[in-house]
């Protein structure tokens, strides 16, 4: 039998390539109540939000960055137009977007403004020009307060605290052993400050949603990763029961986390507008609005101090991990947890103290982005290890090897690494592909050429017992009378492949052809909540539920009969977690990886050129090689862009300065070479056919490998990314 890893054509590939796939901007009313597209996959009737009289919607956003709202004056609306604001939230609803444990972000700004661009009102109507006129006629008066643009200004409480008394949204602290004692007796201490910037997800399709009302039911559909998150947010804001809400995820043109939280932030006010007006409303963001106001990756500052003994060995690490959460907490706490839990990387450090803080500023609330905190702290620990190895006059790979985690070791939260850790195998493959060690010696230091290697681990699935306590994922297989099997779950394919891999998993168990398996885009009227499409959980957690469901279906299969099987998530045996004390197994298992990057540096212009990129990962088992390789290629480009090019600054009002495709430098196909990549099998017992999560870890280490290579090429420490030529000039002329 062929390996499950052997690729099949992507079932969703041709429609996306030939333009026939329907994205939210393409959806048109088919004249029916309950109509569907010819392939049956897309709901097109009026009950699904489409109608002839669909309105356009646009936000009125605050031009002021911070202050108390003194007055909001809305203009008179001509017939057929609606202006919706906080006052329109129906009784029983709440003016707050529920995200994880946080409730601080309002749906519409009501009393205060915390960032330039905050949603104050929504204007809907048939004509874009009239909407434009109405938006210009809205008057907002704000008693302005000085703007907090970054972590330093936040900690200095510029203009008074934005949040609480100290601008700290949340803290995550970990302690192991007597840190102060060890430092007091250390032979030397190495300290470094490592900083990363904002990053834009840059999905190809901008944010877009439609909201509608059918009687006492509210619907939202469009481009989103997590239909049940939107479902939950709309229920909270409108005060509706769960069966009074329907959410449909349409074909989605990329997400990268950017469509994890933002569809809630955008969908809740849109749902209010549709609920109040009774009209379906479509809102599509153009590229500039999308880049200027949607969630970005949290900027970070990590400070690492390491106590060394007289032989240069690490005795203890004392670290702080600060994330710029922006104006509202939103998902910052869980991003911070992931950042802190990954902050010691792949190394076993006996004694440590880690202090994590999510910090309030007056920028756009930071949100989800592939890696979710891990790329920030992994950059910190990897660059810190480079520095310690240099101090010890030691080859960094040799130095790092002394600390590699192995099976049975304790995690930073006191859990256990239960599965085989195969870093040595991954390194051997990376060496074979890249010739790293030979080049590292040959290229010298400060001579314009360099090669760097970074190591990453990535906890798969929700942090702690989130899968068990919060998500409670459920997946269903339904066998129709014609014996066609349908997958019912809430997982969305935004390029990362579940349309392909889920079909393969189910088909393999049942011995049928993958392309006969029905897997429509999720519609909460029909699919159970299998959880959000985030956190490298899809193939491992939901895929495994489907595998188990298929095994069950196979056992009870009766031809010509409708049969339904359901699987609910269960924590793997032996795993435990204490959310209060943050103790135990923070993740069920981990993906592992080695990234290598080779660069040349132009001393005339300080431009870097990546001349080689290599990546080797332990993904458990690849359910589809092409899907996995696609993730590796894209993840590496995104990580190298993060490390080398993607500068995103804020101006004096805390607004982003690079908000066009001409100014925000996402890499093109000619900026970086193709990544030479492979995976090494290390099957995970509780993942679909041994698969672990891998969609995020491919973005966890490329930037650190790049920075390490640049350090060798320029002969100076490079502790801040992106390493654009302007920054490298400052480093080299310092």
């Amino acid at each position: 039998m062929k390996s499950i890893s052997q690729s099949i054509p992507r079932p969703d590939g041709m429609a996306k390539a030939d333009g026939s796939a329907l994205y939210v901007a393409d959806l048109q009313f088919d004249g029916t109540e309950g109509g569907r597209s010819p392939d049956g996959a897309v709901a097109l009737g009026s009950e699904s939000g489409l109608s002839k009289d669909m309105l356009l919607g646009r936000f009125y956003r605050s031009p002021y960055p911070r202050g108390k709202i003194r007055r909001l004056q809305l203009p008179e609306c001509p017939p057929g137009y609606h202006i919706i604001s906080a006052a329109d939230i129906p009784q029983g609803g709440k003016n707050e977007i529920p995200m994880a444990a946080s409730r601080d972000m309002p749906c519409f700004a009501e009393n205060e403004i915390r960032y330039a661009g905050q949603i104050v009102a929504l204007v809907a109507g048939p004509d874009a020009y009239e909407i434009e006129r109405l938006i210009r006629a809205i008057e907002l008066e704000v008693d302005e307060t000085p703007v907090v643009k970054n972590i330093d200004e936040a900690l200095a409480l510029k203009g008074g605290a934005i949040h609480g008394e100290d601008n700290i949204f949340c803290r995550v602290d970990l302690d192991e052993g007597e840190v102060d004692e060890v430092f007091a007796g250390a032979a030397s201490v190495v300290e470094g400050v490592y900083e990363t910037g904002f990053q834009e997800q840059f999905y190809m399709e901008g944010q877009g949603l439609i909201a509608w009302r059918t009687g006492n039911k509210c619907g939202v559909r469009g481009s989103m990763q997590c239909p049940y998150y939107v479902h939950h947010a709309v229920s909270h804001v409108l005060g509706l029961k769960h069966d009074e809400i329907r959410v449909i995820a349409d074909t989605i043109g990329g997400g990268f986390g950017g469509k994890e939280d933002y569809p809630e932030i955008m969908g809740a006010p849109l749902a209010v507008a549709s609920w109040v007006s009774g009209k379906p409303i479509r809102m599509l963001m153009d590229r500039v609005e999308d880049m200027a106001f949607t969630s970005k990756r949290h900027p970070s500052r990590c400070v690492y101090r390491s106590a060394l003994d007289s032989e240069g060995r690490i005795l203890a690490i004392d670290a702080t991990v600060d994330l710029d959460g922006g104006a509202y907490e939103t998902y910052t706490k869980i991003v911070l947890m992931r950042a802190v839990f990954h902050s010691l990387g792949v190394y076993a450090i006996p004694v440590f103290r880690i202090r994590g803080r999510g910090i309030a500023t007056n920028t756009v609330p930071s949100g989800a982005f592939r890696g979710f905190g891990a790329p920030q702290s992994l950059f910190g620990i990897e660059m810190h290890m480079e520095e310690i190895a240099r101090r010890n006059r030691c080859e960094v790979l040799d130095y790092k090897r002394n600390y590699f985690l192995k099976k049975g070791d304790t995690t930073v939260t006191g859990g256990i690494f239960r599965d085989e850790i195969i870093l040595d195998k991954l390194i051997a493959e990376a060496e074979r592909l890249s010739g790293y060690s030979g080049k590292r010696i040959k290229l010298g230091r400060g001579k314009g050429q360099g090669i760097g290697m970074s190591f990453i681990l990535h906890g798969c699935g929700f942090t702690g017992d989130g899968e068990q306590k919060i998500i409670k994922g459920k997946a269903v297989l339904k066998k129709h009378r014609d014996d066609k099997v349908e997958i019912l779950c809430a997982a969305v394919d935004f390029g990362q492949g579940p349309q392909t891999t889920f079909r393969k998993v189910v088909a393999r168990v049942l011995g049928i052809e993958p392309n006969t398996v029905i897997f429509n885009y999720p519609d909460t009227d029909f699919v159970p909540d299998s959880g959000p499409t985030v956190a490298s959980r899809t193939i491992m957690i939901v895929g495994y539920l489907l595998q188990k469901a298929a095994e069950e279906l196979k056992a009870i299969w009766v031809e010509g009969e409708e049969q339904v099987v359901e699987q609910n998530y269960q924590m793997p045996p032996g795993m435990s977690w204490d959310q209060e004390r943050l103790r135990g197994d923070s993740y069920a298992t981990y993906g592992w990886g080695v990234n290598v990057c080779e660069v040349e540096l132009d001393f005339l212009t300080w431009e870097t050129k990546v001349i080689g990129a290599w990546a080797v990962f332990d993904v458990g088992r690849a359910v589809d090689h092409r899907v996995v390789n696609g993730q590796i290629q894209g993840g590496m480009s995104q990580a190298l862009g993060y490390g080398a090019m993607e500068k995103l600054e804020v101006d004096s009002k805390g607004q982003f300065r690079q908000i066009t495709m001409a100014d925000y430098m996402v890499p093109t196909s000619v900026d970086f070479p193709r990544t030479e990549a492979l995976t090494v099998d290390n099957p995970y017992l509780y993942g679909a056919f041994g698969a672990k999560g891998m969609g995020e870890m491919v973005h966890d280490g490329g930037h650190a490998a790049f920075a390490a290579a640049v350090e060798q090429a320029c002969g100076k420490a490079c502790t801040t990314i992106p390493l654009v030529p302007e920054t490298l000039m400052e480093i080299m002329e310092a």
Partner: protein, 314 residues
């Protein structure tokens, strides 16, 4: 709505231009961005549009008295020598589809060809035109820097005739050009002699589809191992492309003295001249300090390359 004209002859185009003050539109790659409106709304043009891309004489390139005459609507893809470049194929009227003479294309100075090749991406270069790049008058316009180095002259036409103006007088400031309300940019003239040596270096924000942070375009005519004439033009370091004439006279007077020690001295002097003339700014793409430092570094690189050329000619 926007009023649109698609003239089929130059005479008709000039009449519409004079009567309606319609804005000449060739590839539209800058205009469509400048007058961009939100989705669902038409571009916010303030005047009628005059399509000039379909008039054959705007799409020609030919030798003229040892120099070159380039039609204003010639796409940058032709100048760049892109594979699959299409001339006048924008389909807005009686498409000319003029196929340029390969022998003429071979004479395009390296600096212009290289500059054109680094504008945008292939699809954009097939629409973007040399006249449009000039009319946009960005200090970061790549073909503009090259045309400064080539001492280009711009031929403008109107119902009342033709006038020729040096590029340094044509471009007045960012987005500002010396074009009367009834005039159309007709031809770019690169006077003889075409240079024996050219230099082009664009430092962009990335490797393709990038805007220029700093550029240096240079050209020289060489006779008997000496620099007979030369030019050094810097892009994106001031409100306009800046040509540093002091460097030019310095090189003309000193060469062919090319001992290493002398060379260092000459480069230092050239940098001093440039340093007082270039006035870059901080913006969302780069910093003033970086732009200035790199501009000066590039002078050294260009002069070293010129010296190599002189040695080869010995």
């Amino acid at each position: 709505m926007v009023e649109v004209f698609k003239p089929t002859s130059l005479a008709e185009a000039l009449r519409i231009r004079a009567d309606k003050h319609a804005i000449p539109f060739a590839g539209g790659t800058d205009l469509m961005v400048r007058f961009r409106a939100r989705d669902g709304m038409a571009p916010s043009f303030k005047s009628p549009i005059l399509f000039v891309d379909a008039l054959p004489e705007f799409n020609t390139i030919r030798m003229f008295n040892g120099g070159l005459k380039i039609g204003a609507s010639l796409p940058l893809s032709i100048l760049a020598g892109d594979r699959g470049a299409v001339n006048g194929g924008t389909g807005t009227g009686a498409t000319s589809g003029v196929v340029p003479d390969a022998a003429v294309l071979a004479t395009i100075p390296g600096v212009l060809k290289a500059a054109a090749a680094e504008v945008g991406a292939p699809a954009l270069r097939n629409r973007a035109t040399i006249g449009g790049n000039l009319a946009n008058a960005s200090p970061a316009g790549d073909s503009i820097a090259a045309l400064y180095a080539l001492s280009a002259e711009i031929i403008l036409v109107s119902l009342s005739g033709e006038r020729m103006i040096p590029i340094e007088k044509f471009i007045l400031g960012p987005g500002e050009i010396s074009l009367k309300e009834d005039e159309i940019i007709h031809t770019i003239h690169i006077p003889a002699p075409l240079p024996d040596w050219t230099y082009w270096r664009k430092v962009g924000t990335r490797r393709a589809n990038a805007l220029t942070k700093i550029s240096l375009a240079a050209a020289a005519s060489i006779k008997d191992g000496r620099v007979e004439s030369c030019s050094f033009a810097f892009g994106a370091v001031g409100p306009r492309v800046i040509r540093v004439h002091e460097i030019e006279s310095l090189l003309q007077s000193r060469f062919p003295v090319v001992q290493e020690a002398k060379l260092k001295e000459i480069i230092a002097e050239a940098k001093k001249f440039a340093s007082s003339m270039i006035t870059p700014i901080d913006d969302q793409r780069s910093t003033a300090k970086y732009r200035k430092t790199v501009a000066l570094n590039l002078i050294g690189d260009a002069i070293a390359s010129l010296v190599e050329e002189l040695k080869l000619g010995d």
